[in-house]
Structure formats: structure tokens, C-alpha cells
């Protein structure tokens, strides 16, 4: 019997006796027999921790793509960044890991202050004053932004650049089934959003990505003007690492910023738990989704932090709440605050710069190869898309044999044809470089791709 229950047989006996009961079954006697599970759970019996560890060793062994053994050039919203031992140690402190939502501020100042610091960092990186305490991930954060736009304008039309990550757009479409939003996806031409090609009248939101998911740096003033023209909310989905060097969402005139915070201390984790970043203008504060921590004082005037503006939240507003989010991703938010504290002002700048340097070095080397051409001719930051002479998925499989994860097949992300890619999508490979990639690894990539294409 391997489990974590403290009850001894004697405990159970005496507790039942205290209740005047004979058996544990008596506790369930009031449940209609008709629905009781007579047979017991048809799940294999419990195993000890080391036995279960042996089973999981089988799983991990079958994960060939682990970044510790296969050099990672895949990105698309999930990045292989440096996470130092100190950040892991601090974010694993059990007080942060095993606490619940800070409902009792007197004994939750640790988490509350860490969130307050996280909020401050999100505000600075987004250039917008009102952050929240985290959302599930970037995709669902985008959905909250659309809901906010609907609340602000009363309109349903959401004009979204197809430069926004295909998964984010898909999630937006899924939730639109409930909200009734009309999702209008704007195609890219040579990697840039062709805003002119759509009718934005009655738009609640105009949504752009920065850089877009193909890595391209678009001039967002066009989108901003469009939003102004139809007084829609301007929503920017931005790479927060880029904020180390590029203009912030706020500087581009965004009303709402959403982004993926995984890059700040959270490992690749097969896609989750990640961190949905969210910030908006003062004007939208009453429509803010999720929790927000505010500064105040305690009864003896000491500084204290507490979750505030609770009147927006589901537990109080119920069907009229701005959002249904309750549990969010606090631990990842705390981790992001720690990782950013470790990086600091110049470390973040350095990481952003090195990502760009690595990407541009690889890009130049690759374009020198035969069988490889750039998908578009636009400036990019740390990711770029290539059109290959072979299907991207085949190239990825081939390069994996040399322990290189070549990138992402855009067709796999978009699930086939997509307004973001002109012409055939099967041959398009999305390549990413982070600050962890060395010149040797990049040069190796070039050789391995050459082989894969000429094989």
C-alpha cells in the first residue's frame, strides 16, 4: 500500500466509532445504490514511487526531442532560453509552489509581493500601465483581449492579422463559438499584413503580432491607424524578449498587450504550464480579466499587498464577470519575476540582442545554401521562415538524426493552407535562434541541412 494517507487502521476505527458508524461505507450510504460503483475502480493497483519512476523512464526515453540532447532551433512561441540554477531553486521554494490563491493576505505577502513585482515588469515591458496577475497562456490571453474589446465597443468583429500565431488564431475561433465574435483574418503579403485587403468597419479590435509569428517586424503604425479609424481597440501580441531592444506595445499605441511569458524562466515543458501576459490602458481597467494585486497598508500602516478590484471577478460578479478565470498561472508569474530579476535591465537586452545575432548569422549562412530561399524579404528579429526544396517535415525528421531540431514545419502549425503563407506551405520551415545557440551549433545546423536537402 503505497500512498500518502496518514490514517492507521486504528485511526479509522476510532474515528468511525466517534461518528457512530461501522464502516467507511456507511459514509457513502446516503448515495443512491443505483449510481454507486459496486465493482470498484478499474484502475491498476498502486505502485511505489520507484516503480512509477521506472515507468516514466520509459516515457522520457521515448522523447527524442529533448533540448538537452537535441539542439533546439524550434520556436514559434516556445523558446529554449537559459534558466540558471538560482532561478530554478528560488521558484521551487515550496512556499511558492504549495500555496493557494492568496485569499488571506496576512499570510500571503510572499506571493502577493512577487506578483506585484511581476505586474510591474509586465507593465514596463509592454509599455502599458495596467497588468494583471497572469493568464493561462498567450493564446487564451488573446481571447481575453477580444472579450475586453467587445466589452469596450459592444461590437463583435475582430480583425486579426494572420501574422498572429496560427494556434492563437485557432483558439480565438474556438471561443468565438460561444461569444459570437466574428473573426476576420487578414492575409500576409510577402510576410506583412495586408490590412487594406479587409473591411474593418465595426471592428471591436484590430490585432497585430510583433514580431509576427514568421519572425517579421511589421510597421505597426498602419494597424494603429486602422484601429483609430474605426475606433477599435488596438491589440498587440508581442514577444516580450524583443522588448529588450524593440519598441514596446505601448510605444506602438496599443490599448492591450498580450504575450507569451514562457521565455522568462519556464522550460519548454511540452507547451505548458506557460504564462499568459496581459496589460492594458487605464481606460480598460474595469474590464481587466483575472486577478490584479494592489499595494495598500495593514492596520499598523505597514506596506501590504492584496488582490484588488475584486468586484470584476467571477466569484462576485458571477454571470456578469469580465472573465471566468479563477486559477491562473501564478507560479510562472513568480518565476518570471525571478528570472527577470536575474537577467536585469542589461541581461534582457543582451539576450534579445544575442537572439537576433544568432538568427541573422544563421540566416546569412543558410541563404548561401542551394535549395533554400527566404519566404519573404522583410526585416526579422530572432525567427525567420524558409522555403525548402523538400517538405519541411521530412527535413526536420532527417536533421533529427543528427540531433538537430531544425525548427517547426509551418504546415504543422497552421494545419495546412493559411492566409499567412502565399503559395505552398508544406515546404516552409520556421527557424529560431536563442542566446543559447553557439556558433558551432549554428554551423553544424548548416551542414546538416545541406545534407538533408541533397540526400
Amino acid at each position: 500500500m503505497a500512498d500518502y494517507l496518514p490514517h492507521t487502521d486504528e485511526d479509522v476505527r476510532s474515528m468511525l466509532e466517534f461518528l457512530g458508524m461501522e464502516s467507511l461505507d456507511d459514509l457513502f450510504a446516503h448515495i443512491p445504490q443505483a449510481v454507486r460503483l459496486a465493482s470498484g475502480l478499474d484502475v491498476a493497483d498502486g505502485l511505489s514511487e520507484p516503480d512509477v519512476a521506472a515507468i516514466f523512464a520509459g516515457y522520457t526515453g521515448a522523447n527524442k526531442a529533448r533540448a538537452t540532447t537535441m539542439t533546439c532551433f524550434a520556436g514559434g512561441g516556445a523558446y529554449d532560453h537559459e534558466v540558471p540554477a538560482v532561478v530554478k531553486m528560488l521558484s521551487n521554494r515550496s512556499e511558492f509552489v504549495t500555496a493557494y490563491t492568496p485569499y488571506q493576505p496576512e499570510v500571503a505577502q510572499g506571493v502577493l509581493q512577487a506578483i506585484f513585482e511581476y505586474q510591474t515588469l509586465v507593465a514596463r515591458l509592454s509599455g502599458l500601465p495596467i497588468p494583471n496577475a497572469s493568464l493561462y497562456d498567450a493564446a487564451t490571453a488573446l481571447v481575453e483581449a477580444l472579450n475586453m474589446a467587445h466589452g469596450a465597443t459592444g461590437r463583435q468583429k475582430m480583425v486579426i492579422s494572420s501574422g498572429v500565431h496560427p494556434h492563437w488564431r485557432e483558439v480565438a475561433r474556438t471561443f468565438a463559438r460561444g461569444t459570437g465574435h466574428e473573426i476576420v483574418e487578414v492575409p500576409l503579403r510577402d510576410g506583412v499584413t495586408d490590412w487594406a485587403s479587409v473591411d474593418a468597419t465595426n471592428a471591436a479590435a484590430v490585432v497585430a503580432a510583433y514580431p509576427n509569428y514568421l519572425g517579421v517586424l511589421e510597421d505597426l503604425s498602419v494597424a494603429k491607424d486602422l484601429a483609430i479609424a474605426h475606433d477599435a481597440l488596438f491589440v498587440i501580441g508581442a514577444d516580450p524578449v524583443a522588448a529588450g531592444v524593440l519598441r514596446t506595445a505601448g510605444q506602438w499605441g496599443a490599448d492591450v498587450f498580450v504575450g507569451e511569458g514562457q521565455a522568462f524562466g519556464t522550460p519548454l515543458s511540452f507547451g505548458g504550464p506557460y504564462l499568459g501576459l496581459f496589460a492594458c490602458t487605464q481606460a480598460q481597467v474595469r474590464r481587466l480579466p483575472g486577478r490584479i494585486v494592489g499595494e495598500t497598508v495593514d492596520s499598523s500602516d505597514r506596506r501590504a499587498f492584496v488582490t484588488t478590484l475584486r468586484a470584476r471577478e467571477q466569484d462576485i460578479r458571477r454571470e456578469k464577470a469580465t472573465s471566468n478565470v479563477c486559477t491562473n498561472q501564478t507560479l510562472m508569474a513568480v518565476t518570471a519575476a525571478i528570472q527577470l530579476g536575474w537577467l536585469g535591465t542589461y541581461g534582457l537586452r543582451e539576450v534579445a540582442t544575442r537572439c537576433a545575432q544568432g538568427a541573422h548569422y544563421l540566416y546569412q549562412e543558410l541563404l548561401a545554401l542551394g535549395g533554400v530561399e527566404a519566404l519573404c524579404t522583410q526585416p526579422f528579429f530572432r525567427e525567420f521562415a524558409l522555403r525548402l526544396t523538400k517538405p519541411a517535415d521530412q527535413v526536420i525528421a532527417a536533421m533529427a538524426e543528427s540531433n538537430v531540431l531544425a525548427g517547426l514545419a509551418v504546415s504543422a502549425l497552421s494545419g495546412g493552407a493559411d492566409p499567412s503563407v502565399e503559395g505552398d506551405v508544406e515546404h516552409v520551415l520556421l527557424v529560431t535562434v536563442t542566446e543559447r545557440r553557439t556558433k558551432d551549433e549554428i554551423d553544424h545546423y548548416v551542414n546538416v541541412l545541406r545534407e538533408a536537402l541533397t540526400r
Binding site: A65, L90, E106, T120, A304, T327, G341, G344, A397
Partner: protein, 503 residues
């Protein structure tokens, strides 16, 4: 020059030493101090403006913070000492299932063989992960009595909304356009909020004097425009909806679906299954029932399992067993599409599977039995000072009321909750569910021993005594904590959400 620098670095904010406040990371920041260390890459150092057009570069440098690694460690270690957690003691927060989180499951999630895998890696290179997802889905279906599940929803509320979208997709597929979803007045706030986002209207069903859904009222609220009902069973008062089969029949008779809010699944593992009660859609809170840690508010995971007639609508792509030990991503025939950027909170899912494997069917059944045993023992033990709102056998949690203390001594449930902190226990859930006056909802969970329950009871007895002897002192509690009661009104009146907000 600066002979007397800005002081900093005292540990007086660690309760071990003192009770002062901890400066923020930004107050600790000193120009040009740093902690980061990066790999030497040898990559040619192109200048930024040779890579990025000028109009994209930020003219200013975004300030983060500038601290040494030593100060970073001191700061967050002190903050951790200002934070209560399950690992420090009992956390009987009703409806939250704050059971002990096995460290073994954390170790599983910390394995690079799981956490260093890119979510966009081809299935052929992440077979281990796909097998984990498929295996977990299969076990969750056995546990709930359903046919298939999606693991994408990142928490319970996300699961609820996903479930409502499935409900909608199902009805629409039948060319059947319905307007309303029924919800008991005892329901958790996420339920009505999810209904709205699901595009439905909420019809609230009152509870009867036994704390259960009023079947009569339910029936009269039913009609052909009802898409379904959301129920928590045991419900949020901790009582089992004994008329569940009648409820199910009534709802199904008008063509509605039954949604099971699995937040309280811990109470019934191995005893009764949502599927067998007639539910069509079930969400689970893995961060409750399956012990994945709450992380101070998240992450969680809210898988949604459904009955056969809804399987085709599940979000996708889903990890799927495609014969002879190979797994691949497959989209259900009429999938509503993705509800998460990738595959859900994968590491949380892996933890839950490890937890299920350690317990097995026998262990999970004991989990529910002992959780219910603890709640009933506590209810009985406290009867004299904090009567149960509905005095009969409860499930995994008991909703007590401080109403007597309030009428007699003017001591509110909140005061009792705050005083409990001074006694070395986290507070129960207060003022929820809304249908109970001065509600104090205790969920001991199965991992607390009877000795701990007894000392919780004795602490509450001391507090009841204080309510008699010195009620004012309770209204001032807690005093021993890092901060005393905080001014919530002030926080809301003048929002200071960042260190940069004007004060």
C-alpha cells in the same frame, strides 16, 4: 559621492527576525549591478541597427531591475518566509482540496526528458509525451466513467467553458438552438461566468432547506430552450445531490445535457462516477483531486471528459494511440478546435498521472473514503461551537456557520478565520457558498491526520472562548502574522498595481 548609501539588505522582513516589510526588487536596484551569466557562443556580434531598422528599435532602455544574485536570493527567500503553504501546515480551504502534494510528482515534472521537450516537436520525436497524455486520458475516463477526454484546458474554469462549447456544438449539430443553462444558487462563480462566455443565459435554481437542488423548482425551470445544467456533486456545501438520477432524467427529458463540475471529485473517487450518475460532460481539477500543487494560484489543469455522443466534438488535435505502441496527433471529426496554445499544462498532467499510478484504483478509493471520514469527524467534533449549516453526513468538506457567534458576541466568520491564522492554521473558505449565512467551509482533505484535526478543533474552541471573553481581540486578529489586517478598501479606491504607479 555617496558615503551613506541608501540602506538595504536587512532580513527584518523574515518573520524569524522581525515584522518589517520587504523592499521591492526595484527599491533594491542599483545602477550597473547585475546577476546574469550567459553562455559564450562565438556568434559574430552584428550591431543591432545592422539587423533591425531604426524605426523598430526602442530609443529608451526598458528598466527591469539591477540586483546581484545574492540580493535576488535574499529577496525571494525572505518573501517565501512571508508565505504560508501546504508544506508548512494545514490548509483547510473548502472547495480547494489543499491536500499534500507528493514531492515525487515534482521530481517527475523536473525531468529534462519531459520538461526540455519542445511542444512543436514532431510526434515521432515526442512519443513518450504522447503516451503520457493518452494514458492519463484513459485513466481519467475510467475514474469518471466517460468515453474520452481533452487535456487542453489549463484550469477548471477553462474546462467549464470548453464543456459549454461542447454542449453548444452538440445541440447545434442537432440543428437545435437553445438559450439557457441552469445553475444552482450554490454554484461556484466560475459556472455562471462560463455560461455567459459560452453564449448562454443563466437560470438560477434555488436550493432547498436540505442544501440540495430543489427538484420542483428545477423541473419548473426546465424547458425545450434549456441547453443543460451545471452541477457540482457533492455540491459546494459538501452535500451529495441525492436526487441526482431524477435530476438527470428531468434534464435529459427536455433534451438538455448534464455538466459535472469536478472540483469536488475528491469526495467520490471509487465510490460513484459522474458517468454513472448520468452526466454527459465532466471537468476535473487535477490541481485539486490529483494533488498537483497550486503554485500560489496556478498552474492547474482542467481536463474535460465526455460521454460517447460528444466525443467527436472534443478539442484537438488529441494525442491518440494509432496502433502497436505508436502515438500521433489526431483531430476529432467535428472538433470545436484548440482551447490552449499547445497541448495543455503538460507538466501538470504528467504529475497527475504519476499520482494516479502511485495510488492506483485501490489508493484513489481510499483517498475519497478518508477525505469524507475527516470532514465528518471534524463536523461532529465542532458541532458545539460551529454548527453545520446542514446537520447530517457530509462528503469531503463541511460547511459550518459562525451565525451563533455573530448573534451572541458580534464575532463574524471572517474574525474566526483571521484568528485561526494566529493559531497556526490557514483559514477555511469564508462566505462561500453564498446560500449559507456566515459560512465557514472546512475541507481537511485525506492527507491530514486525526491529530491535526483535533488540534484544529481545540484551536477553534479557544477562539470560541475568546469570542465570549474578548470579542474585540478577534476583530483585531491576526497580530502574529507578517502583516495584520490589510486595508482592502484603500487598495481598490486608489489602484497601485505597479511600483511605477503614482501614489
Amino acid at each position: 559621492m555617496n558615503a551613506t548609501p541608501q540602506p538595504g539588505g536587512r532580513a527584518a522582513s523574515a518573520p524569524l527576525m522581525g515584522h518589517e516589510s520587504e523592499p521591492t526588487l526595484f527599491e533594491m536596484s542599483v545602477a550597473n549591478r547585475s546577476a546574469y551569466q550567459l553562455r559564450t557562443t562565438g556568434v559574430p556580434a552584428l550591431a543591432l541597427d545592422d539587423m533591425v531598422p531604426a524605426e523598430h528599435l526602442n530609443p529608451e532602455i526598458v528598466a527591469v531591475a539591477e540586483v546581484s544574485e545574492r540580493d535576488l536570493v535574499a529577496h525571494f527567500t525572505r518573501l517565501s518566509h512571508r508565505q504560508f503553504s501546504v508544506d508548512l501546515g494545514m490548509y483547510p480551504l473548502g472547495s480547494c482540496t489543499m491536500k499534500y502534494n507528493p514531492k515525487f510528482c515534482d521530481a517527475i515534472a523536473a525531468d529534462p526528458g519531459l520538461n526540455a521537450v519542445h511542444p512543436g516537436a514532431p510526434a515521432s520525436l515526442s512519443q513518450g509525451w504522447l503516451e503520457i497524455l493518452v494514458t492519463l486520458e484513459e485513466k481519467l475516463c475510467v475514474i469518471t466513467g466517460m468515453s474520452a477526454a481533452t487535456l487542453q484546458p489549463a484550469a477548471g474554469a477553462a474546462g467549464e467553458l470548453t464543456g459549454l462549447l461542447l454542449m453548444r456544438a452538440y445541440h447545434e449539430a442537432n440543428g437545435d438552438h437553445r438559450r439557457r443553462v441552469l445553475i444552482p444558487d450554490s454554484a461556484h462563480g466560475t459556472n455562471p461566468a462560463s455560461v455567459t462566455l459560452g453564449g448562454y443565459e443563466v437560470t438560477t435554481v434555488p436550493s432547498n432547506e436540505r442544501g440540495l437542488v430543489d427538484l420542483g423548482a428545477l423541473k419548473s425551470a426546465l424547458g425545450p430552450d434549456v441547453a443543460g445544467i451545471m452541477l457540482t456533486n457533492p455540491n459546494t456545501v459538501g452535500l451529495f445531490e441525492e436526487e441526482i438520477t431524477e435530476i438527470a432524467k428531468a434534464v435529459h427529458d427536455v433534451g438538455g445535457l448534464l455538466y459535472y463540475d469536478g472540483a469536488n471529485l475528491n469526495a467520490i473517487l471509487g465510490a460513484v462516477r459522474p458517468g454513472d450518475m448520468g452526466f454527459d460532460i465532466v471537468h476535473m481539477n487535477l490541481h485539486k483531486t490529483f494533488a498537483t500543487p497550486h503554485g500560489g494560484g496556478g498552474p492547474g489543469a482542467g481536463p474535460v471528459a465526455v460521454a460517447a455522443h460528444l466525443v467527436d466534438f472534443l478539442p484537438g488535435p488529441k494525442a491518440t494511440r494509432v496502433g502497436d505502441g505508436y502515438f500521433n496527433w489526431v483531430a476529432p471529426a467535428r472538433s470545436i478546435g484548440r482551447v490552449h496554445g499547445w497541448h495543455g499544462n503538460a507538466l501538470v498532467l504528467a504529475r497527475a498521472l504519476a499520482y494516479i499510478d502511485v495510488h492506483g484504483g485501490d489508493g484513489l478509493t481510499r483517498v475519497a473514503q478518508h477525505a469524507v471520514l475527516n470532514a465528518n469527524w471534524l463536523r461532529q467534533r465542532l458541532r458545539a461551537i460551529l454548527p453545520a449549516a446542514y446537520d447530517r453526513v457530509c462528503m469531503h468538506e463541511c460547511t459550518l456557520t459562525a451565525a451563533p457567534l455573530k448573534s451572541k458576541y458580534g464575532v463574524r466568520g471572517l474574525d474566526v478565520a483571521k484568528a485561526l491564522l494566529e493559531e497556526g492554521f490557514h483559514s477555511p473558505t469564508v462566505y462561500f457558498p453564498l446560500i449559507v449565512d456566515e459560512a465557514l467551509m472546512f475541507e481537511p482533505t485525506e492527507t491530514e491526520s486525526v491529530q491535526t484535526l483535533e488540534s484544529l478543533a481545540q484551536a477553534l474552541e479557544r477562539i470560541a472562548q475568546r469570542a465570549k471573553d474578548d470579542p474585540a481581540s478577534l476583530r483585531r486578529a491576526p497580530q502574529s502574522t507578517p502583516v495584520s489586517r490589510v486595508d482592502e478598501a484603500r487598495a481598490a479606491r486608489r489602484l497601485i498595481a505597479t511600483a511605477d504607479a503614482s501614489r
